[in-house]
Amino acid sequence: MNEKRAILGLKVVLWICALTPAAWLGAAFFFDAYAANPVAKVSLGANPIEKLTHVTGMTTLVLLLITLSVTPVRRLTGWNRVIKLRRPLGLFAFFYAFLHFSIWSGLDQTFVWAWMIEDVIERPYITVGFAGFIILIPLAITSTTGWIRRLGTRWAVLHHGVYLTATLGVIHFYWLVKADVRLPLFLGTCLALLLGWRVVFSIRKRRRVSPRKDTAPATP
């Protein structure tokens, strides 16, 4: 019972934290538009469309990485219920990716299809960002319990797509900065650790499943 409570508490924290960037942008928008902005720090600044794009993009990446850390945390702590956080985290990541894409296409490119198509085809950083977003769409759709049941073992395979999206997302970020690659490299390192852990874990698991008699560790 206590564990259930803990998860519920964590979910509340998750919702509050995940909605904070959107709330901040909304507040900044409101202050800029309708109030004589009393809070200079809460402002979209001189290039609001860029600010909206950057904040939603950054939030997407961070949420993707947190989503990818759920399973390692579960295995390392043995706390299985933490898996309950994975779906809302993933869906929040999709929510911000969707906002990011909408802001780019609607506000930045003002729905000029020719510009957007040119960018998606000719600008590698946009190509990979766009691909990462497209991959995320079926994952968001099939995140419901019904779809999980329907797809069975194929569901897990399909949802490995999130590894690809996260990788493309980090590349997207790395390729768009001019000189200061510290932040993209940091996120890339986090991603490499999270994916690397999975590789090591699955190798060990395979060994445990089919132990050779002579090398099998003595289990106490």
Partner: protein
């Protein structure tokens, strides 16, 4: 009576209005009316309008426009959104982190292949020249732009006073190095000091402005106090800030962004919508304060003033 003469930088009306817009002008007007109505309701925030305490600017700037009739960007845009990596790599960093910088006293060294080398304090350096306001467009290599009323004097004055020798072909400029006052210099994001250069004829071009102020006031620290360059037909990164030295040389200077990535940033860095940055398009730009991107003009709209300097040069190669 005010007589309007056509300045060389004036764009003929036939170039301003795209043909399809002209042909379909009735539809365009109707669409524009719908658009205007939508814009009136659409929150001003998206266009980056910031209310609240703003710097008081001298009254003469109230209705000032560029030679193309463009409105000036507010003081706030210009001073809170710019690149000055010495203070950090985000656009807001310079305005946040430049508070400790001491632009006075200041001295500039003029050296190299000149007959009058020397160290000047700022007042003597500016002294003999007439300081004036000039409204220029600024186009950043990152595809955003602003219209700014700079204040300064022609760099040509300085060059003439320095009296270059015959073999001086280029001028190399350097930014001050003060990691204690410039937090961005504490990490090697770029190879400090920031270096920029101009060919001698570019330095002598009447458009090239040794800039000391904006909106009639001294340059704020974040915009390159107390002395910076502005070449409005080049991408913004050529406009080196907080200059401490000018060196007249024979060889093409190795400017900082060229050293950083020569495939992406050249020595000339002339605004050119036909040559894309390897990673993004240079065909269009976002003018701060506008919703829809606008077309980028060749040489940022200063073709008549500068084109002759680049006759016969392949501008797709000499980026």
């Amino acid at each position: 009576m005010m007589i309007r003469t056509r300045k060389p930088s004036d764009v003929p009306s036939s170039e301003i209005t795209p043909e399809d817009v002209y042909v379909n002008r009735r539809r365009f007007i109707r669409n524009a009316a719908v658009g205007a109505a939508a814009l009136a309701i659409a929150p001003r925030a998206l266009r980056g309008i910031n209310d609240g305490p703003a710097q008081q600017v001298p009254a003469r700037f109230a209705n000032m426009k560029s030679e193309l009739g463009e409105e000036l960007n507010p003081y706030r845009d210009i001073t809170t959104y710019n690149n000055f990596y010495e203070f950090g790599t985000q656009k807001e960093d310079p305005s946040r982190n430049a508070g400790d910088f001491q632009p006075a006293p200041w001295s500039i060294r003029v050296e190299g292949l000149v007959n009058n080398p020397g160290d000047y304090n700022l007042e003597d350096f500016i002294g003999p020249s007439n300081v004036e306001d000039r409204v220029y467009r600024m186009r950043c290599v990152e595809a955003w732009s602003v219209v700014v009323p700079w204040r300064g004097f022609p760099l040509a004055d300085v060059v003439k006073r320095a009296d270059p020798m015959g073999d001086a072909k280029y001028v190399e400029f350097k930014t001050v190095v003060r990691p204690s006052e410039m937090p961005g210099q504490r990490t090697r994001v770029l190879d400090w000091p920031y270096v920029e250069g101009l060919r001698l004829d570019e330095a002598m071009n009447p458009l090239t402005l040794m800039t000391t102020g904006v909106y009639g006031m001294d340059l704020p620290n974040q915009n390159g106090a107390p002395l910076r360059l502005i070449m409005p037909w080049k991408y913004g990164f050529k406009g080196i800030k907080s200059i401490v030295s000018m060196n007249f040389v024979e060889e093409m200077p190795r400017n900082t962004w060229w050293v950083q990535n020569r495939r992406e940033y050249g020595f000339f860095a002339n605004v050119n919508p036909q040559v894309d940055h390897p990673r993004w398009t240079q065909k269009r730009e976002r003018r701060l304060g506008e919703l829809r991107r606008r077309e980028t003009l060749m040489f940022n709209g200063y073709t008549d003033e500068v084109q002759s300097m680049y006759e016969g040069m392949d501008l797709t190669r000499w980026i």
